[in-house]
């Protein structure tokens, strides 16, 4: 029982709810070492995804991902817009026109997403960015031999740990890098949102 376009659309709607719930938390994290817009940026982006899905659900999971990607690119701005947008765009390409996403497609999508973020943002693990959540997530997902829900659960757990690992880091990429040493001691907002989104996807998959 893979994930259809309808399922993925529903998962993104749930993710939008999670983003709304955590909007203020993400704003606060970004206020500490950035400019305080990350939560609002994602709120705007995911609300726009919901609006786009309301208009029409694309036929394949890949097409849903592409719609989500272009929506984020055109509605979010900031660093997160192009980074998450590119991630979803590459994930969409990785999934191709498969009718359903199974565990293999999910791993391929996650790998492609990470590749997209790194290609655009040029961050390495340890730079205190979303890459610190996404890199272990991909590794964990790849290591799992199980269902889609199991793959995503492993990815989400690893992303969460990865996000936590950003706390002591001194940022070398993104806006937090301007703070130098003062960026240490704070959770990176983008790493946190990556962990939240993966957790939301995992929960949706587990619940189906």
């Amino acid at each position: 029982m893979g994930c259809t376009a309808e399922d993925l659309a529903a998962a993104l709607r749930s993710a939008a709810v999670v983003v709304r719930e955590h909007r203020d938390e993400l704003v606060e994290l970004d206020r500490a070492i950035g400019d305080g817009d990350h939560g609002e940026n994602l709120r705007r982006g995911f609300d726009a995804i919901v609006t786009a899905l309301d208009a029409a659900t694309p036929p394949t999971p890949g097409a849903v991902l592409k719609l989500a990607a272009t929506t984020l690119i055109s509605k979010v701005g900031g660093a997160a817009g192009p980074l998450y947008g590119t991630a979803l765009l590459r994930a969409s390409t990785a999934v191709g026109d498969a009718a359903e996403i199974g565990p293999a497609e999910a791993v391929a999508a996650l790998e492609a997403a990470l590749g997209g973020v790194v290609a655009r943002g040029k961050a390495e693990p340890g730079d205190k960015t979303m890459v610190d959540a996404l890199t272990p997530a991909v590794a964990a997902a790849t290591a799992v031999d199980g269902s889609l829900a199991e793959v995503l659960a492993a990815a989400a757990r690893a992303a969460d740990a990865g996000a936590e690992s950003t706390v002591p880091l001194v940022a070398r990429k993104g806006r937090a890098s301007y703070l130098g040493e003062r960026s240490a001691g704070h959770l990176d907002p983008g790493a946190r949102s990556t962990a939240l989104l993966l957790a939301s996807l995992a929960a949706t998959a587990a619940g189906r």
Binding site: R31, S74, A79, G81, G121
Partner: protein
């Protein structure tokens, strides 16, 4: 009820509503397009002229919308507050202003701005428009390195946009404009400091908290904290603290001719700004640096942040003449 002390309605509609007012106030100069939001010179495209386009998060007014007009920008792309604009906005700006000579995108060096403008440039190129980008990174408060996001673009953006706008106006082609832009970027340095934080409408609380006797040194223009927090100093101390790293960075040396731009971050009143400007002029004179042109006022702001920045641009005859060339925008106007 609305607890935030701002003259706004719905926080998520601030930029759109503000642009409406901008459009009504300056209908002789500019047109405001919405969805995606772009501020365009009213007579765009100007045939045969390189289009000069900039943009960035909102909240830095008059930059960039107030700098649209003859002799300066052909279009500005206002993002959400403190959030870089999206590629769609930039793409539309290029479409609306390309007069056949291509477009130069002026991008402040922030990851978000660079990525979104980059995407837009690709899209525009795919449509057959020649597009070049110049990234400005004049903030000496940030240590530069190949492994980081690098320096921020701050106050130097205004002289850059003015001078490139003048170059495009006098008929310089895209390569010529880009070369002049690079010369400005190579010769301009800035640094800023805050005594109080701005409040972003959709956040509702100040971007950082400062004790009654503290200031943030080395701040950017998005309410992000600075490099160091320290006890407040008097104006002599503040100006020296900004000027010294700027001078050492390029470096600026005896005999150099400069444009001195003393900028208010928003809430610092002109009374204080002119006072600081006077000190900066004296310190420069003491070092034998010749202030040939000056700009004083709130031009690159961070909402109601209290504080100031200094920008120094090393001038040559050509850059000076381009600075002097006529300009007609909401915020900067002379010669016409």
């Amino acid at each position: 009820m609305l607890a935030v002390k701002k003259i706004i309605n719905d926080p998520s509609a601030v930029v759109a509503e503000s642009l409406r007012g901008l459009g009504l106030a300056h209908a002789d100069l500019l047109e405001v397009v919405d969805e995606p939001a772009v501020v365009v010179r009213v007579d765009a495209p100007v045939a045969g002229k390189v289009a000069v386009i900039s943009g960035g998060g909102s909240g830095h007014e008059p930059m960039h919308g107030g700098l649209v007009g003859p002799g300066m920008l052909d279009a500005a792309c206002p993002g959400a507050v403190f959030t870089s604009p999206t590629p769609d906005q930039v793409q539309l700006a290029v479409q609306r202003t390309d007069g056949g000579a291509g477009a130069l995108l002026i991008v402040k060096n922030y990851t978000g701005d660079v990525l979104n403008f980059e995407t837009a440039a690709e899209l525009a190129a795919a449509e057959g428009t020649r597009v070049e980008s110049i990234v400005i990174d004049d903030d000496v408060a940030v240590k530069d390195s190949l492994f980081t996001a690098g320096r921020r673009g701050v106050g130097g953006t205004v002289p850059l946009e003015k001078i490139v706008g003048a170059a495009a106006d006098r008929g310089e082609d895209l390569d010529g404009c880009l070369a002049i832009a690079r010369r400005v970027v190579a010769n301009v340095r800035s640094m800023g400091l805050a005594l109080g934080a701005p409040t972003v409408p959709h956040v509702g609380t100040p971007s950082f908290e400062l004790a009654d006797d503290e200031m943030e040194v080395g701040i950017g223009i998005h309410g992000e904290p600075g490099r160091a927090r320290m006890p407040v100093e008097n104006a002599e101390g503040v100006v020296a603290r900004l000027l010294t790293p700027i001078l050492e960075d390029l470096p600026f040396t005896e005999g150099d001719r400069v444009l001195l731009f003393t900028n208010s971050m928003g809430a610092t009143p002109l009374l204080e700004l002119y006072l600081a400007h006077g000190i900066a002029e004296r310190l420069l004179a003491e070092r034998g640096i010749v202030v040939e042109r000056r700009l004083v006022g709130p031009f690159v702001t961070s909402l109601e942040m209290q504080g100031m920045s200094l920008t120094l641009l090393k001038l040559d005859d050509e850059l000076r003449d381009l600075w002097d060339a006529p300009v007609r925008t909401a915020a900067l106007r002379w010669g016409c």
